[in-house]
Every structure is written in structure tokens, then in C-alpha cells.
């Protein structure tokens, strides 16, 4: 695999890859950034780690002391 290939072969592989990549279609950051932000804003209201979870609903928070009945 990569360790068994000679330097020449690795360079050839990288070169072929670069040739493919120069031609990939790209979109401007000014378009994609607002989309990422919109995605996050839409979901972060529901994100338990962002908005916090009330003590009684969270299975990981410690419950109160022992209750002896």
C-alpha cells in the first residue's frame, strides 16, 4: 500500500489526483457560509448541550438522595 510504493509512484498518484481536483466545481464561501449558519440556527434550539436540559429530564444528572419509605 502506501508504505510499499516508491516515491515516484506516490508522486504520480498525487499528481493524478491534483489534475482531477483542479476541475472540481466549487461554490463561493459567501453562499455556503450562510447556509451552514442557517442549518445550525435551525437545530440549535433543540440541541441539549447548547440549551441545557432540566435536571429531572437528563438521565445523566444525579438524582436526589435516598428516599426511605
Amino acid at each position: 500500500m502506501a508504505r510499499d510504493m516508491s516515491d515516484k509512484e506516490i508522486l504520480k498518484m498525487e499528481l493524478d489526483q491534483l489534475k482531477v481536483e483542479v476541475n472540481t466545481p466549487r461554490i463561493a464561501v459567501s453562499t455556503t457560509a450562510p447556509e451552514i449558519i442557517a442549518f445550525v440556527e435551525g437545530l440549535s434550539a433543540e440541541d441539549p448541550l447548547v440549551k441545557g436540559v432540566p435536571e429531572d429530564k437528563n438521565p445523566f444528572k444525579e438524582k436526589g438522595g435516598c428516599i426511605i419509605t
Partner: protein, 395 residues
């Protein structure tokens, strides 16, 4: 050179030109060939087109890289954090260790959550793989692997099996049974075979296929039932340390990061490397897809984490501070993608605001390097594993 060919002298007909000459016994790709010295010279020039040498290949590579950067820079008209300025900042974070899972005898190297949001599988340097119930901290199953440094473990989507591997160069799947007395090691199935250590593994959407990455520089897709290699992915020039599958809605791709400082995005069906990013200054230890599937984050030994946008084909954010000098070993996003949790080799976990690029909190608690960080499937908590032999659940 020394490890690829060695020479001894005999006399006889050459395999290539059939003349009787002193022969050089050469081994090419493990096969013995007898060529006379003239044919050896000619053969050494094969594989090179007219005038091609390593230097010309390098020069061409450099010029293509420059051209690629130019193309990418044209679309870099605004920074993510600039667009994010109008968003509200996040409030104060109160996150504490809620559970500490003790039981491993040595460094915890990897962990994964089960889809039931409650079970965790973790693996350690001493060869033990343990399945825990995170709510009660009970150990449900324990398996001892025949090798040490179990660097990869994964839970199957059905919750009925775990896969793990490490220095044994293999990925093995253990079906979990409800019977506590059953010897899990007896039912082990060896699925993947690499020529170097297994660094990371992950089930695809079903229990039937596993994707693995290895120190031999390749990633591979395997069928669990037959152990057959379905697809292999070549493109990294050094060890591949981490991989992550795209969230299912966005199709059949995965991202991998390695010691060659590159993060590559692959198409699982064709085996093609679709996009490649090389802006880190050192090994990439961890890669994770953004929840939308349009971006991914990486954590690296150069002490930074970076966010790459797949549609803009470039890096859009760097998460770093001058005070952080230790490498990030593992990263994960919160459910919405607003927070990035990163575990570092300085024993802390930093929480970053993905959009604004600022650090929101630092979590202390581990007494040695944090080796792995994963958010639970429903986003209510995250778990960190460390070289101090424990796992901590934070919420």
C-alpha cells in the same frame, strides 16, 4: 533501495534479451527475475515517460497545487466568523463530569456509543474491550483481544455486535449475547486484514459492512459475513489515522485523515478520492463530518482544529489559541453542529463555538491525555476516554 532489491551474480541466458551474459538475480515485487545488466538498466528507465524524473513530477505537482489554491482563493470572498457576527453568543457553559467509568487496566484508546444512547464500548492498550451501561456505570460485557493497543472500536447500528482492532492488523466483530456467561471470544469473526495496524473502524448503515482505516495508508470496505474486501481506497501517502462516514441523508461518502497532513473525501462506491485538503501543519488525528454533511472538522497534532466546507472546497475556520500548544487527538460536534468538542494531549477538553471560532469552555478532569471524544446519539451528553484509564461522561 536496500529493502527492495538485492543482487547475486550468475551466468546464463537473460530472461529479456536471451543472450548469454552475467546475470543479475533481482527480485521485483517478490518474484525472482534474471536479467543481464543491460536489460536491468533499460528496465530501470521504464515507468518514466520521456524526460520524466522524480524532480519533474515534483515540479508539476507543485505547480498544480498552486493552481488549485488560486482557484479556491477566488471563491474565498468572506470568512465564516464574519458572517456569523450577527448571531447571539452562547451563554455560560456548565458542564461537569456526571459519570466516571473505571475498570480499564490501561490507557483507553477509543470508544463508541450505541444507538440506544445508553451503552458504550471502549477499548484500551491492554487489549480489553468493555461494553458499559452509561446510566448505571455497570460493565455489561468484557472481551480480551489477543493483541495490545486496540486503537479502534465501534458499535454496530443494531446494538448486537462490536468491532475492534489494533496492532493485530485485523478488524474483528464480536456478536454480543444476552447470556453473561457466554464466552464472547469464541464467536469472534475476523473481517478485515491490513498490512499494518488498524487505526479506525466504523459500521456503515447496517451491520453487514465495515469501513476500516490502517497504518498501511489505505482505507477499505469489507463485507462482515464473508470477510470479503468490497472496495479499497488508495490516496494517502502515509498512515491513515481516522475516518468518518457522511450522515446518511447525504450519500455514500466518507472522510479520512492521516499522517500525510491530508484529509481526503472518498466516494464509497467508486473508490475515488473526490476532494483533498492539505492545510494542516502536522498529522491529522481525527476527522468528523458536520451534522449537515456539507462540511467536516479535523483535529491535528499542530494544536489546531479546522473546519472545511465541501461545497466551497476550502478551509473556512481554524480553532486555535496561542496558549494551546498540545495536539488535538479527537473532535466531535454537538447535535446541531454549534459546538465542537476537542480532546487535547494536555489533558483538557476545549469546547469551541463552530460559527464564531471562539472557545466557549475548557473542561478539566482527566489526569492524562484525552484520546477520544464522542457525543451521544441524542446529543444529551458526551463521553471522553483518556490515557488515565478512565472514561468520563459530561453533561
Amino acid at each position: 533501495m536496500c529493502d527492495q532489491t538485492f543482487l547475486a551474480i550468475t551466468f546464463g541466458p537473460c530472461d529479456n534479451c536471451s543472450q548469454n551474459k552475467p546475470l543479475m538475480n533481482i527480485y521485483l515485487k517478490n518474484e525472482p527475475i534474471n536479467y543481464c545488466s543491460l536489460c536491468v538498466e533499460l528496465m530501470a528507465c521504464q515507468g518514466l515517460a520521456k524526460g520524466e524524473t522524480t524532480n519533474t513530477l515534483k515540479a508539476e505537482s507543485e505547480s498544480l497545487k498552486a493552481k488549485l489554491e488560486e482557484e479556491r482563493a477566488k471563491l474565498h470572498d468572506v470568512e465564516l466568523h464574519q458572517v456569523a457576527e450577527k448571531i447571539e453568543a452562547l451563554g455560560q457553559f456548565v458542564m461537569k463530569t456526571r459519570r466516571t467509568l473505571k475498570g480499564h487496566g490501561n490507557k483507553v484508546l477509543c470508544m463508541d456509543w450505541c444507538r440506544d444512547k445508553r451503552r458504550i464500548v471502549s477499548s484500551s492498550q491492554d487489549g480489553k474491550v468493555i461494553v458499559w451501561d452509561a446510566y448505571t456505570t455497570n460493565k455489561e460485557h468484557a472481551v480480551t483481544m489477543p493483541c495490545t493497543w486496540v486503537m479502534a472500536c465501534a458499535y454496530a447500528p443494531s446494538g448486537c455486535a462490536v468491532a475492534c482492532g489494533g496492532l493485530d492488523n485485523k478488524c474483528s466483530v464480536y456478536p454480543l449475547s444476552l447470556d453473561k456467561n457466554e464466552n464472547l471470544a469464541a464467536k469472534k469473526k475476523s473481517v478485515a486484514m491490513h498490512t499494518n495496524y488498524l487505526s479506525s473502524c466504523s459500521f456503515t448503515n447496517s451491520d453487514m459492512q465495515i469501513l476500516t482505516s490502517s497504518g498501511d495508508g489505505t482505507c477499505a470496505l469489507w463485507d462482515v459475513e464473508s470477510g470479503q474486501l468490497l472496495q479499497s481506497f488508495h490516496g494517502h501517502s502515509a498512515d491513515v489515522l481516522s475516518l468518518h462516514l457522511a450522515p446518511s441523508e447525504t450519500g455514500n461518502t466518507f472522510v479520512s485523515g492521516g499522517c500525510d497532513k491530508k484529509a481526503n473525501v472518498w466516494d464509497m462506491r467508486s473508490g475515488q478520492n473526490v476532494q483533498s485538503f492539505e492545510t494542516h501543519e502536522s498529522d491529522i488525528n481525527s476527522v468528523k463530518y458536520y451534522p449537515s454533511g456539507d462540511a467536516f472538522a479535523t483535529g491535528s497534532d499542530d494544536a489546531t482544529c479546522r473546519l472545511y466546507d465541501l461545497r466551497a472546497d476550502r478551509e473556512v475556520a481554524i480553532y486555535s489559541r496561542d496558549s494551546i500548544i498540545f495536539g488535538a487527538s479527537s473532535v466531535d460536534f454537538s447535535l446541531s453542529g454549534r459546538l465542537l468538542f476537542a480532546g487535547y494531549n494536555d489533558y483538557s477538553i476545549n469546547v469551541w463555538d463552530v460559527l464564531k471560532g471562539t472557545r466557549v469552555a475548557i473542561l478539566f478532569g482527566h489526569e492524562n491525555r484525552v484520546s477520544t471524544v464522542r457525543v451521544s446519539p441524542d446529543g444529551t451528553a458526551f463521553c471522553s476516554g483518556s490515557w488515565d484509564n478512565t472514561l468520563r461522561i459530561w453533561a
